[in-house]
């Protein structure tokens, strides 16, 4: 097989379509993820629009029951698996290597593979529309409604296969980011110096690694039931549909933290930056994130309070669920503590971050009211739950992600967003989302069940439904404004500079947009909020940092080369899964197409394994990848790099010190206070002046 890689030349394009298709650069993959997921957001938003239009008046006949059922199923599935998760992945990709001072992720080609598989999974799922067989059993598709006797068309096969493909993508990405974060940090970046977003990515990835296999097994069992006559969830064969619920929610609840933790990470970056103050209680915020991740495993049955688990089990899950409010509350309080005494600068990114906090509290509090099982018996499967979902997912996850978009866009493009339009976007979203979703609390408590395609006027739900639908229009306009803003901002001349927000993260010390190799010289991290430390020391020494790290000739730095094979392998995965939809009905070769897919996959993997990560490495080195991305540049590259201030890093003393300015205790060895830039009272170094 190695011959294959000899025959086909390594792709080399650096620009144009082909360069995007073969790219292994984490920044470009981040962009691919982001753009694709945004398009899916529009799609999911249009589906929401059809839902809202249908429900705006009673007895509406705009769409049929079956179409409506497809709409909310695809809306929920799209928003969760094709929007929020990949948008988070987009940030993982773009930000993580920059934030930990690495040249790329640990496995750049695996990363490209993750993206392509995600794209194909999304397409496979949506291809169901083309055959008019979109899945229609809700985003958690409770068995046994999903079994053949009740769902005869192939909708749920599309759903189950699509989600399995997406699972492959998420798992591959999670593996990659765990290794990247654990292993590729710049020297000096100990765990407790990792930015919060990096921490939350790590926790999220671990949750993914452990949660996805569970749903995969559920989906496999469902696929088998539907296609091979097994009885996993078929009562007539002795199976128990409740097993599906357990498998789904053992995945499903950690999943909601998979959705929110990245947003919490983003917000924990944005709030300190725009308060000009370090994150309040950093260790506690980290710890509470980890605790949320762990506790998230002990609460899944709160989605099943009405299933008849018996009061003992319900009590256990009720209490564990309610207790999650504690670590989450700790985060909220520490965020407010970050603002307290700071200088709050209401840039758009900050507005979205603050919006996140404000709205997530609402969603969290209604969450606690679901957690109380007796009262949940009245709320479950009503619009009260729909309100909760959207406060935590739209007000929470999506607001957090938009905060990230506004925060890192200048880094990605070198251009600032139009602030006025950004603020308009924020306010339209903030108002629109409250108008849309707040009335749903009442609708639910007034007895409106979810997933109904029509309702009679006699129940008194008309007015609030109309209000909610009007709110949707506001959101619609808000989304358009955002699109306009992106288009306008992209056309501008670069105006952001490398550090427009005076931010603390490593990524702001390099040019915007970052060069392909990220860091010419891998930085030595001196503490939490490294770049603040650097800048404030420099300011104290009277030479503020105004330039990013100097540009070097990229050819002097080893970077992994582009590759076809991730794409080829991903195509194999698509054919393997999608081919399952074509059942010949013959005895032995019921599924011929998946075999072809399997073979393509196999070829892709072999070629991938035989291809050296970078061209220069050819010969002898047949390793897949690993480590090459972060390999240290040859000495020539360093020469051009900005000089480091003397005394930083290795040479510094290690005594406990007090800052003479702010009085902070400094746990490591600094000549200048990392918190305020003031001189350090140090008997060892008495000759330094105040900054």
């Amino acid at each position: 097989m190695a011959t294959l890689t000899d025959v086909i030349d390594r792709p080399t394009s650096q620009s144009g379509l082909w360069s995007w298709i073969t790219t292994v650069d984490h920044k470009r993959i981040g962009v691919l993820y982001g753009v694709t997921a945004f398009i899916f957001l529009l799609l999911g938003g249009i589906e929401a629009g059809i839902i809202r239009l249908q429900l705006s008046v009673p007895d509406s006949t705009l769409v049929s029951a079956d179409t409506f059922n497809q709409m909310f199923t695809m809306h929920g599935t799209t928003m969760i698996f094709l929007v929020i998760m990949p948008l988070s992945a987009s940030f993982f990709n773009f930000v993580i290597p920059l934030a930990i001072g690495a040249r790329d992720v640990a496995f750049p080609r695996l990363n490209a593979f993750s993206y392509w598989v995600f794209l194909f999974g999304g397409l496979l799922l949506n291809a169901s529309f083309l055959t008019n067989q979109a899945p229609d059993a809700g985003w958690f598709s409770y068995a046994n409604l999903t079994e053949k006797p009740f769902s005869a068309n192939q909708g749920l096969d599309y759903w189950a296969l699509g989600l399995q493909v997406l699972g492959v993508s998420s798992l591959a990405a999670a593996f990659n980011f765990i290794v990247t974060i654990v292993n590729m940090r710049a020297p000096g970046m100990s765990l407790m110096r990792m930015p919060l977003f990096v921490w939350m990515t790590l926790v999220t990835s671990i949750l993914l690694v452990l949660a996805f296999p569970v749903i995969t097994v559920g989906l496999i069992e469902l696929t088998f039931d539907r296609n091979f006559g097994t009885n996993f969830f078929v009562p007539e064969g002795g199976g128990d549909p409740i097993l599906w619920q357990h498998l789904f929610w053992v995945f499903g609840h950690p999943e909601v933290y998979i959705l929110i933790l990245p947003a919490m990470g983003i917000v924990s970056e944005v709030l300190p930056t725009f308060s000009r103050k370090p994150l309040f209680g950093y260790p506690v915020v980290v710890f509470s994130g980890v605790v949320i991740g762990i506790m998230g495993w002990a609460v899944w049955s709160h989605h099943m309070f009405t299933v008849g688990l018996g009061p003992v089990a319900v009590t256990v899950f009720m209490i564990t669920t309610m207790l999650i409010a504690v670590p989450t509350g700790v985060k909220i309080f520490n965020w407010i503590g970050t603002l307290w005494g700071g200088q709050v600068d209401l840039k758009t990114a900050m507005l979205f971050a603050l919006g996140f906090v404000a709205l997530f509290i609402v969603g969290g509090l209604s969450g606690v009211s679901h957690a109380v099982a007796p009262s949940d018996n009245q709320q479950q499967d009503t619009y009260y739950i729909v309100a909760h979902i959207h406060y935590v997912l739209f007000g929470g996850a999506l607001f957090g992600i938009f905060a990230g978009v506004y925060y890192w866009f200048p880094k990605l493009t070198g251009k600032l967003f139009h602030e006025g339009l950004g603020k308009l976007h924020f306010w339209l979203y903030f108002i629109g989302m409250n108008v849309t979703f707040f009335p749903m609390h009442y609708l639910g408590l007034n007895g409106m069940p979810r997933r109904i395609y029509t309702y009679a006027s006699e129940f008194g739900w008309d007015g609030l439904n109309m209000l909610a639908s009007l709110g949707y229009l506001v959101l619609f306009v808000g989304t358009l404004i955002f699109i306009v803003n992106v288009l306008i901002s992209l056309r501008k001349e670069p105006d952001a500079g490398h550090d427009p927000w005076d931010a603390p993260g490593l990524e702001w010390s390099i040019a915007s947009p970052p060069p392909s190799y990220n860091f010419a010289k891998i930085p030595e991290v001196e503490g939490l909020d490294h770049y603040w430390i650097v800048k404030r020391r420099a300011a104290a020494e009277g030479r503020p940092v105004t330039e990013p790290e100097a540009y070097v000739d990229p050819s002097t730095i080893h970077m992994p080369d582009p590759s076809y094979w991730p794409l080829v392998t991903a195509i194999g995965v698509l054919i393997l899964a999608g081919g399952m939809l074509f059942d010949t009905g013959w005895d032995y070769i019921r599924f011929p197409i998946p075999f072809i897919g399997g073979i393509i996959c196999f070829i892709g993997i072999i070629a991938w394994a035989n291809e050296p990560p970078a061209k220069e490495h050819a010969g002898g080195d047949h390793h897949a990848e690993g480590g090459h991305g972060m390999e240290h540049h040859p000495a020539t590259a360093t020469a051009a790099v900005m000089e480091r201030p003397a005394g930083a890093g290795a040479g510094a003393v290690t005594v406990r010190l007090l800052c003479s300015n702010c009085g902070n205790q400094l746990s490591s060895s600094f000549r200048f206070c990392p918190y305020c830039g003031g001189a350090v009272e140090s008997p060892a170094e008495p000759d330094h002046q105040e900054g």
């Binding site: 509350g329 709050v344 606690v368 109380v372 099982a373 018996n377 499967d381 007895g447």
Partner: protein, 401 residues
């Protein structure tokens, strides 16, 4: 009861506590552009709460606020207390958040850094412990309520019924309707006596449904593999509205039912008359013949007393195993005593019933009557029945009481 925001008009929203003066003696939150005084905050809070109260409509037919009976009331009590906790936490936390945003706005010319605090251990411990205590308190109380509501109170002479979920209608079985062992099956309209606990056994013959009468009790799922149960008790007579709460396919939105809470005597009278041969006019007798003709309505429906277990089982069997087989259909014995037709959907009157018989699809898209019955397998989905046959059937159905 003053605690409960949704019961009675005399409940007073708590006033927002006066804010303590801060060190510099200012009582206002400063900002360049506008000033928020305590009065503003107070008015804001009051109007927010009033808004909250207004939007809740205990009179709405499925409102969880207009409760009757101990189960729904206790659930509402719990919710109301939670709601107050939530409102208080909300006002406190969002208030502090808003305060921080306004008070600590960056002002032009502020170039020096703010004090770089990075934590406060005592504070952090406090805001971990306080919510924990609050939550454990709520949790324990909730658990007690939970166990309380699990079974009807000991000694209550509960009426036992079994509810079976079907796509998309309800079957009600009374193993012992009158205390003398009378067995009744009926459908879509549950008749129960007032002031008496009703213990409900929940089953399903196809997929998962959920049994929910918002004003009487929270929902419990009906799972094909389980014997779930719940109980409720209505404290007043009247009509209550119920709804399937678990998504169960095409017509889930229209899987509704009514609960008629009757005075004890009326209930017993209904039980007694149930299954007695109705007095049929000549036309109605002709209708009966149509009803009972081979391949007619009687394959799926019984109109003369309770369905036997065997016949129900065989219908279910046929429904589950064949794509075109018959379906179990609602028992029609006391049809004329019902208020609605089509599983709680539309008023039971001649006109609606006629429409139902012409094409049930018009009233309830996806239903398994026109989906499975041979007479409805026509190109336009309309019944293979002449208008006269329909009129005769109507005559018959409307005399079933």
């Amino acid at each position: 009861m003053g605690l409960l925001p949704f019961r009675g008009a005399d409940s007073h929203p708590p006033s927002v506590r006066p804010r303590r003066r801060d060190k510099k003696g200012k009582t206002t939150l400063m900002s360049k552009r506008f000033t928020i005084t305590r009065k503003h905050l107070f008015l804001l809070g009051i109007s927010a709460i009033l808004l909250l109260l207004m939007a809740c409509a205990p009179d709405a037919k499925q409102s969880t606020f207009g409760t009757s009976g101990p189960v729904a009331e206790q659930q509402l009590l719990l919710f109301n207390v939670l709601l107050w906790v939530m409102i208080i936490v909300f006002i406190l936390v969002e208030g502090v958040l808003l305060y921080a945003i306004i008070k600590f706005r960056r002002r032009p010319g502020q170039d020096e850094l703010p004090p770089q605090t990075h934590g406060h251990t005592a504070l952090e411990i406090t805001w971990t412990i306080v919510p924990t205590i609050l939550i454990l308190g709520l949790g324990i109380w909730s658990a007690i309520t939970l166990f309380d509501l699990d079974q009807p109170p000991a000694g209550a002479d509960a009426l036992e019924i079994t509810v079976v979920g079907h796509q998309w209608w309800w079957e009600f079985e009374y193993p012992d309707a009158d205390g003398n062992g009378k067995y009744i099956t009926t459908a879509n309209e549950l008749k129960v006596p007032v002031d008496r606990a009703v213990r409900v056994n929940l089953r399903s013959d196809d997929v998962i449904h959920s049994f929910w009468i918002p004003k009487l009790a929270g929902k419990i799922d009906m799972v094909p593999t389980r014997e779930n149960y719940m109980w409720f008790q209505a404290d007043e007579t009247g009509t209550f509205y119920g709804q399937c709460a678990e998504f169960c396919g095409t017509a889930h939105a229209q899987m509704k039912f009514l609960v008629q809470v009757l005075p004890q005597e009326d209930y017993l009278a209904w039980v007694e008359s149930f299954g007695e041969a109705p007095t049929l006019s000549a036309q109605a007798q002709q209708g009966q013949t149509v009803f009972n003709s081979t391949g007619g309505c009687v394959v799926c429906h019984t109109a003369t007393g309770s369905d036997s277990q065997e016949i129900v089982a065989s219908r279910v069997q046929s429904f589950m195993t064949t794509e075109t087989g018959i379906a179990p259909g609602p028992n029609l014995t006391d049809l004329a005593t019902r208020e609605r037709v089509g599983a709680g959907l539309v008023e039971l009157n001649r006109q609606n019933l006629r429409q139902w018989l012409r094409n049930p699809e018009d009233i309830k898209p996806g239903n398994y009557m026109s989906g499975r019955a041979a007479i409805y397998q026509t190109a336009d989905g309309r019944a293979n029945l002449s208008e006269t046959e329909i009129s005769l059937l109507l005559e018959y159905l409307l005399s079933l009481k």
